[in-house]
Amino acid sequence: MTNYIVTVKQVPDITQITGNAFNPETGTLKRGVLPSVINKLDADALAFANKLRTLSPGKIICLTMGPPMSEEVLVYSLSRCADSAVLLTDRALGGADTPATANPLAYAIKKIAKNMFNGSDDYIVISGMQSVDGDTAQVPAQIAEELQIPCIAYATEVKIAEGKFQIEKIVAGGNQWVSPKRLPCVVTVANYEYPLFASFQRSRLAKKFAITNWALEDISPTLYGYDGSKTRVTRVFPPPKSSRKNREVNNIDEFIADLLSDFKKGSAGAALQAEEADYIVPTEREGGTFQRIFESTDKECEAFKQVAQALSALNITSVEQLDESLVDTIQEHLQKKLTKKAIQEMFEGYKVTEPSYSGDVWVVAEHDAEKTNDVTFELLGKASHLAKLLGLRVGVVLAGYKCGHMANDLIAAGADDVYLIEDALLEDFRPVPYRKVVADVLKKYDPQIVLFGATPQGRVLAPMVAYRLGCGLTADCTALDIRDNTKRGAVGILMQTRPALGGNIMATIITKDSRIQMATARPGVMKRIQTDNSRKGNIIEHSIKVEDSDIEYDIVSTELGSESTNLTTADVIVSGGKGLRNRDNFDKLVRNLASVMRKKLNCQVEHGASRAAVEQGFVGRTHQVGQTGTSVSPKLYIALGISGAIQHLIGIENAGIIVAVNSDPQAPIFKHSDYYIVGNAEEIVPKITAALRD
């Protein structure tokens, strides 16, 4: 008998987003425009829990935290499979970031285990891999860290073997079957094919069911609400206008001509934020420390510029001269008025001239024991840039077994110090032992910025390490800059910009109440620097004992794609999805088109696949493009029979030109493409192939 707790979340239905949903000025979502629904992956998690229950019977309790109306997702869950439901609702819990969400949820889980499972430890917490509004994937891992239990991330299937659960999960380039060595544990679900239907009987019962309501005092969490959060949003703005052409193709020949000419021009639809002016610390700025020209928003920069001019006109040159009496005088000198409070805050902020954080800029390396993954080199490129601005060194954590040989490549790619941790128990990546050693080395050397790859590994490791060290973490950053937030006395801090709500808004986030500023970035987003094999650096061995008891699950088998693919370096990627219907079609259409492309364009052409196509067995996992596969940035991306699930779209957003063929005129991918063809790929692709041959 095992019991199950499913965490569910109410989210805005971003599939129904239209231009009307956002305030064009601020970029924020208008309240009440989008219907609220259960997070899709949480619905999958419920189905997964239901499957678990067929293998080992027990109760399913669903748990959510949010405003009172979140009760709707509990009713949804009760209408399908849940036996009971707990709503955690309290104004004090609002405004929370991921650790301040994970903590109360973990305390609620403890209480559920105590009250509803009679203190039994034989339970599993099941969550959707991530929520569609935040898509950070941090909360489940941080719940596991708070509860000091294992986290098995990206699960897709489960079975019982020799009386124990075996869970299939996604790993970079393949699948892995693992068996948890102890319960409780957290399982996050990446996808489960058969979401449950509501039954009438259950729906009726759910409507009358007395849902358990808990407030703050019922669970007494240690970290919650805005005050307990480790990050703060400083700015929300609309994403750069997609420059995707959204052109429907009616004539194949004309389309091929346009496409080839676009390809030659290298027209990039990608909307990456342009690099801003290089940051200089206040003490080295021309014109003195009153020059606060690197604030996080243009508005602030403008305000500071005015005040600096006024101060200059008044012949004020040092911070000591600023006093209360000056506030009114300054106000008179301003063209655009500022409040008294704002000026007081600025005066206070001027006193801070040194960077707020100390320590170096680090990257946590990811590798397959033979070579380092591309994302690590990309992060090193970014780290080098940030370190240069602040005059710091670049460090890399390289943990594993017999992995020291990779240190020189890391140095050549920009690292100054490689912190090497080797242990036989680190041979395979598992979150629990890895988070232990990484947190330990960070604690010892105290860097100020740490970057992780937003990969299946990084997205579980980073949140656990951040939570363990009590630090803020921003997931999936697309831009990282150094800026000041003078009014709050912050100088030389990391501005972490990321998309949210499925890429419909951008948010700039800063870390607060933390020793380290942590961020993850998706593969293909940052740019590596030129490799320089003559670079010198240090290798520092760090020792920390990994115990057998740290190993949280047995790896039963790992299945990695046999073919090697180089999706990240490809110029052109031809991808196929479930719409191609079978393996034969996939082979014929995708491979033919890829080979014709290769001849015509004389460049590196790879073939990719959607998650669904991999699940259907059309092609190996190494070809999977998307958030749970590989994020790619080719010059040309061609999607055949791929509808465009959000995870796939995120994985291709940095591609140059996107072409989509799909029979469903409403396929979401069309909105994200430059050229699209409505039609059956089996008919269209041979025409494209033939047109290219001519």
Partner: protein, 564 residues
């Protein structure tokens, strides 16, 4: 969660369909007795999603229903402004060709003064409403009163007890079957819901209603006939909107459907209503007894929008929503009745069967003089709701009591006043039919053929050539279904498509289906894209060989009308 099955699968009053009629029934019943459990089932994901109408509403029934509920309904968000758009300008135009229009409003006013049937087209005192919004708000009011509404559940059939004493309840559609009807791991067998009283309020051509008609042997004096309505909501420039006016309704006759003497002859007309926020609702209503094998109502609508009069208001506008539905037009003699007599030999002929009542469009309560059914749906629903409560002790009397009340209500008054209009036009055409219809009620009952029999090899000439962009239309209707489910549309005998329809009518369904569901694949006609279906059911009524059947797909599928 303990399961006490009976407790949850038996309902005192079960309403099928959360549209205006069904929700009126639920609200009226709950207002009459708070203690009795009332369940409303709806196949759409949310109440209002499947409702489309013009709509110009006669507000009397609605106001009475809500006032009698004793509930402060204006506190529901959006309810206070629901009826604010009163009709101030009311035009009836005759389109002569694609450029000319003649205002015949004075004629209607005279008709009204003389008390003639066509005078009912006057809209003074009525309000312009969005039926999707109205339904959504009625749903919220019903829930506030304690009605249980379950959306996402498709009702598939009536549970008819062979002993004939009463109806036991309904059966829901299976969920979680794959395309080949194999159960998937998440399969849920269609549940059985038993009920003391059942109120059918499914809208036009109701699946369960027709199942009851067939199983219990209800009869119609005349065949039910339909029209197909195509509607778009268009956001126009401020200037165009001001030109049109903020409280205006325009109804048109003539182009592109009918040109007296030599032109095409399809019964129907167009409309344009102010919707606020620079939005104009534009639509066309087409009698489904069109005879042209190549006719598509959407193409006609496209032509209609290009008429000089309409074009000036909508040219360059952005279509925000689009949709299609059928309207039952058969009138009084097409209402299904169970033929029976009371002990004194008096005809009861109930609109329903024992403990089942049929309301709104499912019954066919559309007044053809006004071409309005919404007020009758609300009125008949309200009556059915009250009767259900009255008959809790002897539910098998419900249909009888309901029918008795209907006969003395405004619903049947109106139905009788327009009882022959549609049939006269079907028989004599519009040129003679309209004048003749003034004395229609003194003429004998004319029979009507089912719409599908009207198809001929005549060709309709559209002014705008080319294919209609159905895929954009479908996406503007927001329609979606889970792809991996059995097709809810079936062709009974594919040899008819191949051997007969192909040569005679070039497989008309491929042309007229507004959602592009049908395709020719190989030699067969297939419902190839059932997930595009907007639930209008035109195919079921217009296939020239009566060879298509519509059943209900898994719950939550279908269009997502927001303000249609």
């Amino acid at each position: 969660m303990e399961r006490k099955e009976k407790e949850y699968t038996h309902v005192s009053i079960l309403v099928v369909g959360a549209g205006p009629a069904g929700l009126a029934a639920a609200i009226a019943a709950k207002s009459a007795n708070k203690e009795i459990d009332i369940v409303v089932l709806e196949k759409a994901e949310a109440a209002g999603n499947h409702n489309l109408s013009g709509a110009v509403l006669e507000t009397v029934s609605l106001k009475r229903l809500l006032d009698e509920s004793g509930f402060d309904w204006q506190t529901i968000k959006g309810a206070d402004t629901l009826l604010e758009r009163g009709v101030k300008d009311d035009d009836v135009l005759f389109f002569l060709g694609k450029q000319l229009s003649v205002n015949i409003s004075p004629l209607i006013t005279i008709g009204r003064k003389l008390g003639l049937s066509f005078g009912q087209m006057c809209n003074e005192g009525n309000s312009i409403v969005s039926i999707s919004k109205l339904t959504k708000i009625l749903g919220e009011i019903a829930v506030s009163l304690g009605v249980e509404i379950y959306t996402g559940f498709g009702a598939k059939e009536i549970l008819y007890d062979r002993d004939g004493k009463k109806i036991n309840g309904i059966k829901l559609v299976d969920q979680g079957l794959d395309k080949e009807r194999n159960p998937q791991p998440n399969y849920v067998k269609g549940e059985t819901i038993t009920a003391d009283v059942v109120i059918l309020a499914e809208g036009t051509d109701g699946l369960v209603t027709e199942d009851l008609v067939a199983k219990a042997g209800l009869k119609r004096k005349n065949n039910q006939v339909f029209s197909v309505s195509v509607k778009e909501l268009i956001r126009v420039s401020k200037k165009q909107y001001q030109l049109f006016g903020d409280n205006r309704v325009v109804h048109t006759m003539g182009y592109p459907l009918w040109s007296p003497v030599f032109g095409p002859a399809i019964f129907g007309g167009g409309f344009a209503y102010s919707y606020g926020d620079n939005e104009i609702a534009v639509g066309i209503i087409v009698g489904a007894d069109w005879k042209y094998y190549n006719f598509n109502p959407q193409k006609a609508f496209e032509n209609f929008k290009q008429h000089t009069f309409i074009r000036q208001f909508v040219d360059g506008g952005e279509v925000i929503e689009a949709g299609v539905k059928m309207i039952p037009e058969g009138g009084y003699y097409a209402v299904p009745r169970y033929l029976q007599q009371d002990t004194n030999g008096k005809n009861l002929n109930t609109v329903g069967y024992k403990n089942v009542m049929i309301t709104g469009d499912s019954a066919g309560f559309v007044n053809m003089n006004k071409i309005k059914g919404l007020h009758n749906a609300i009125e008949s629903g309200s009556l059915a709701g009250k009767v259900a409560i009255q008959c809790m002790q002897n539910p098998e009397k419900a249909a009888q009591v309901y029918t008795g009340m209907l006969e003395y209500s405004s619903v049947m008054d109106e139905m009788k006043s327009a009882k022959n209009l549609r049939a006269i036009i079907a028989r004599f055409g519009q040129t003679i039919g309209y004048p003749l219809s003034i004395v229609g009620n003194y003429l004998p009952v004319f029979s009507m053929e089912e719409d599908y029999k009207a198809m001929t090899s005549d060709e309709f000439t559209f002014d705008i050539p080319g294919e209609y962009d159905k895929s954009t239309f479908v996406s503007l209707a927001g329609t979606e279904h889970r792809e991996e489910q059995p097709s809810h549309l079936s062709i009974l005998d594919s040899s008819l498509c191949i051997d007969k329809c192909d040569s005679a009518f070039q497989r008309a369904c491929i042309t007229f289906c507004p959602a592009g569901v049908y395709e020719k694949i190989g030699i067969n006609t297939h419902p190839a894209n059932p997930s595009n279906c907007v639930h209008c059911k035109t195919c079921q009524r217009k296939c020239p060989f009566d060879n298509i059947r519509w059943t209900v797909p898994e719950g939550n599928g279908g269009p997502k009308y927001k303000q249609m």
